[in-house]
Subunit: 217 residues, 2 copies
DNA sequence: ACAGCAATAAGACGAATGCCGTATTTTGAA
DNA sequence: TTCAAAATACGGCATTCGTCTTATTGCTGT
């Protein structure tokens, strides 16, 4: 049984190069199709998801490889994804792994190494180029680095919003907050909506955490 | 220039088997010596530290491979250590990497793979058997498992409950937590129910706050 | 006077949560 | 080996939350 391979790569030259490399192993691999970006990949998978492995570029328009990996592993968990890219920085490696990638190869990898990696990932392995493996070990040695820090921009919350946020942090629900502040629960909800928008979060937990981090409360 | 290799292995049969495997590549490798345990290894290194790579067993009397790895990387940071063992559980993998191992191969690996791994580690890579690579990626996906081990005594939460609580504190919802921990969302809800009961709270916010106050997370 | 913002209020709808069950499998310790 | 705890899994139901839309009132600075 040949392994069915798809690629996601925006650059035509590189995509053809990859396809050529895959073509060197006609007995093991079957090239299914190539997507030009993450969104295109999801569209193609929606039509034909009979793919075993996807070779995924990272930098792509429309939807990048990391987000695409997240989506694919969520929608088609049986499909193994191998990142195939020129980037070797720890951040991209880590985010790819977090997104669900099972392998990470550099684009200058020799054709037989890529084929070997595809076979390896199908057998439950995790093919990585040597430099990538070394960096992922470094990440494992420093788990603190994994806690992501954000660009410290200031958030302007109004006085009332800050009050609401404080109550929120105490674990009060909307009705309890409305009682505490003598306003309608609808108003509380509206304040919280605005807080979410300003802090760029979508639930109480993260709102309070972010507020604490930025010393708003 | 041949790569100078030493081994640390208590079992005579296995040690000879490893040495034989290394002997298949006389052009690349030079076998220096074999230690019978971690303490013996340190003694031998103290006399002759002109070693490039050490193939390290884990379970050994006197001093096990993980502690030996710690010592060697501390005293001789230029020496690359490859774990060569039958154990493939995540805990041993993680502790080996923490201790400073740069590679992790299983003992049933073919001779040429071992030789390849030795060369790879000398070039700054991180040779890993496929199953090991896959598990180290799993570890990277769940960093909080790596951090906590001890918790407060006021409330007794199980290890799993603490993991769930950690995810909860990041603002993940039930489904996201279930994805992160590879369990059903129903199970997540049950864990959270138990957490609430033990902490005597009734929602995420207060659970996390109480957990932080009591240094559980 | 008017634009802009903050604060207030309300309704609707789907998703998520909290709480009540039950039940099986795994694990660890005695 | 046996027993208890832990971890796993599933369903129902009422409530809460997150998001959308619309609208009124009051304050402030130009």
């Amino acid at each position: 049984m040949k392994i069915k391979v798809a690629t996601a790569e925006d650059n035509n030259l590189l995509a053809n190069s990859i396809r050529e490399k895959l073509g060197l192993f006609p007995d093991d691999l079957e090239f299914k199709y190539r997507a030009v970006n993450g969104a295109d990949l999801l569209k193609k998978l929606n039509i034909d998801s009979s793919v075993d492995t996807i070779l995924m570029d990272i930098e792509m328009p429309e939807m990048d490889g990391i987000e695409a990996t997240q989506q694919v592993t969520r929608l088609y968990p049986q499909i193994k994804i191998i990142m195939l890219t020129v980037f070797d920085d720890e951040d991209k490696i880590f985010r790819s792994i977090q997104a669900g990638a099972m392998g990470y190869l550099l684009k200058d990898e020799r054709p037989d190494k890529i084929c070997e990696g595809i076979k390896e990932v199908m057998e439950g392995g995790a093919p990585m180029s040597p430099a990538i493996a070394a960096k992922s070990l470094r990440l494992l040695r420093n788990p603190d680095k994994l806690i992501q820090e954000e660009s410290s921009e200031e958030f302007y919350l109004t006085k009332r919003e800050t009050e609401v946020l404080n109550k929120l942090s105490l674990g009060l629900d909307y009705l309890e907050i409305s009682d505490a502040l003598f306003i309608s629960p609808f108003t509380v909800r509206k304040h919280i909506e605005n807080i979410y928008r300003k802090l760029q979060v979508h639930n109480k937990m993260t709102a309070v955490k972010k507020a604490i981090q930025h010393k708003i409360i």
